[in-house]
Symmetry: C2
Subunit: 213 residues, 2 copies
């Protein structure tokens, strides 16, 4: 497979989300452009990475295109993850239904407080934080949802990296300093509010263009 | 100000996050490129939208560049937001410290359950959902964190739109169907896990390029 640049991966991920809720059998390039702002050139180029014939005259075959993206991005591979930090946010994710459907298996939860672990009800085993290295290695856990308080995020991330984790979804409102080989996705409600505020501002001042190409 | 394309807004937002935690007075174009993968051409082009002289010989002046981005994106404007759905996630956001520092004022919380509203401790007033239109209009609330369960997300979003909300950060794992004038940012832990999984897959198969330009 040809080398896939980061922005292509990002757009194909977004495209699967569109395809997964598209109610019809076909999706045209014009519909994708209307939804995303991507030029038809970009759409064709991205889909050409999939190396399959996915277009009919009236558009892309939704089911086949989605399957091809899943295959190309390795989304069929089952991957194990853990939740670290079992406060309100973390404990909510212990009981979140949609991970399994997407191929992610919750394998463990961790918290610094032994008390909290004993009280929480959970479909998977919960462990005190000092067992992180042992449990992550034993269950071959690759991914972590990091839900600890801001002040504990960096030190916990370092422990996760030392334990062999490969990717972290960071919900703590701080930037993590980890080796470049570890994939980090930051989820910050403040950043999301800012992203909307910047667009409200642009709309007020002037038209903004939707050129994402 | 020149029309600012969406990807420029997105990159400038990311750049403020880098600037806000940069410990030195100057940040060079090469350092930005190393952190983001953006070409120096892209960086120069983005910063040229700010219409200020921000570079010294050894790099950009961190404080000035950050202030210029805040000004250009309207991030100094104080904006009010509400939290809708006060389960584990929503109620965690009621007591989140970092909103105020970023210029966002939490003005109200809403939940369908009157019981829950009476039990929760909160720094801002909480209301039953049927009061949403009245309260949002009275306090001129512009933004909402949507933390309701998936099955209630679409109908609640419609009520928020009818109440005059302008932007929604959607934590429910469903796509919202709202008018194009409403800004929606979707936060899905599953999507974040997928984004990491796709990169792990690409790394295993082949090198991926970091060309974001």
């Amino acid at each position: 497979m040809a080398v896939m640049p980061e922005p292509v991966i990002e757009r194909l991920l977004q495209l699967t989300r569109i395809l997964e809720k598209h109610p019809k059998e076909l999706l045209s390039s014009a519909e994708i452009e209307a939804r995303t702002g991507w030029s038809s050139h970009t759409i064709r180029k991205d889909i050409s990475y999939l190396k399959e014939e996915l277009a009919s005259g009236a558009g892309y075959r939704v089911k086949d295109l989605n399957a091809a993206i899943h295959k190309a991005l390795g989304l069929e591979t089952e991957r194990r993850f853990c939740v670290v930090g079992l406060g309100r946010l973390g404990s909510a994710y212990l009981n979140f239904p949609s991970f399994g459907e997407a191929g992610f298996t919750l394998s463990a939860g961790f918290d610094a407080s032994v008390n909290r672990i004993e009280i929480l009800s959970s479909p998977v085993p919960l462990y005190p934080s000092f067992k992180m290295a042992e449990v992550i290695s034993r269950f071959a856990i690759e991914l972590a949802l990091l839900c600890v308080p801001a002040e504990a995020a960096q030190s916990t991330a370092e422990k996760l990296v030392a334990a062999g984790i490969r990717g972290i979804v960071n919900f703590a409102p701080v930037a993590l300093d980890v080796p470049a080989s570890i994939y980090v996705r930051n989820v910050h409600a403040v950043d999301e509010l800012r992203a909307i505020a910047a667009r409200l501002n642009a709309t007020n001042e002037d038209a903004i263009t939707a050129d994402i190409d």
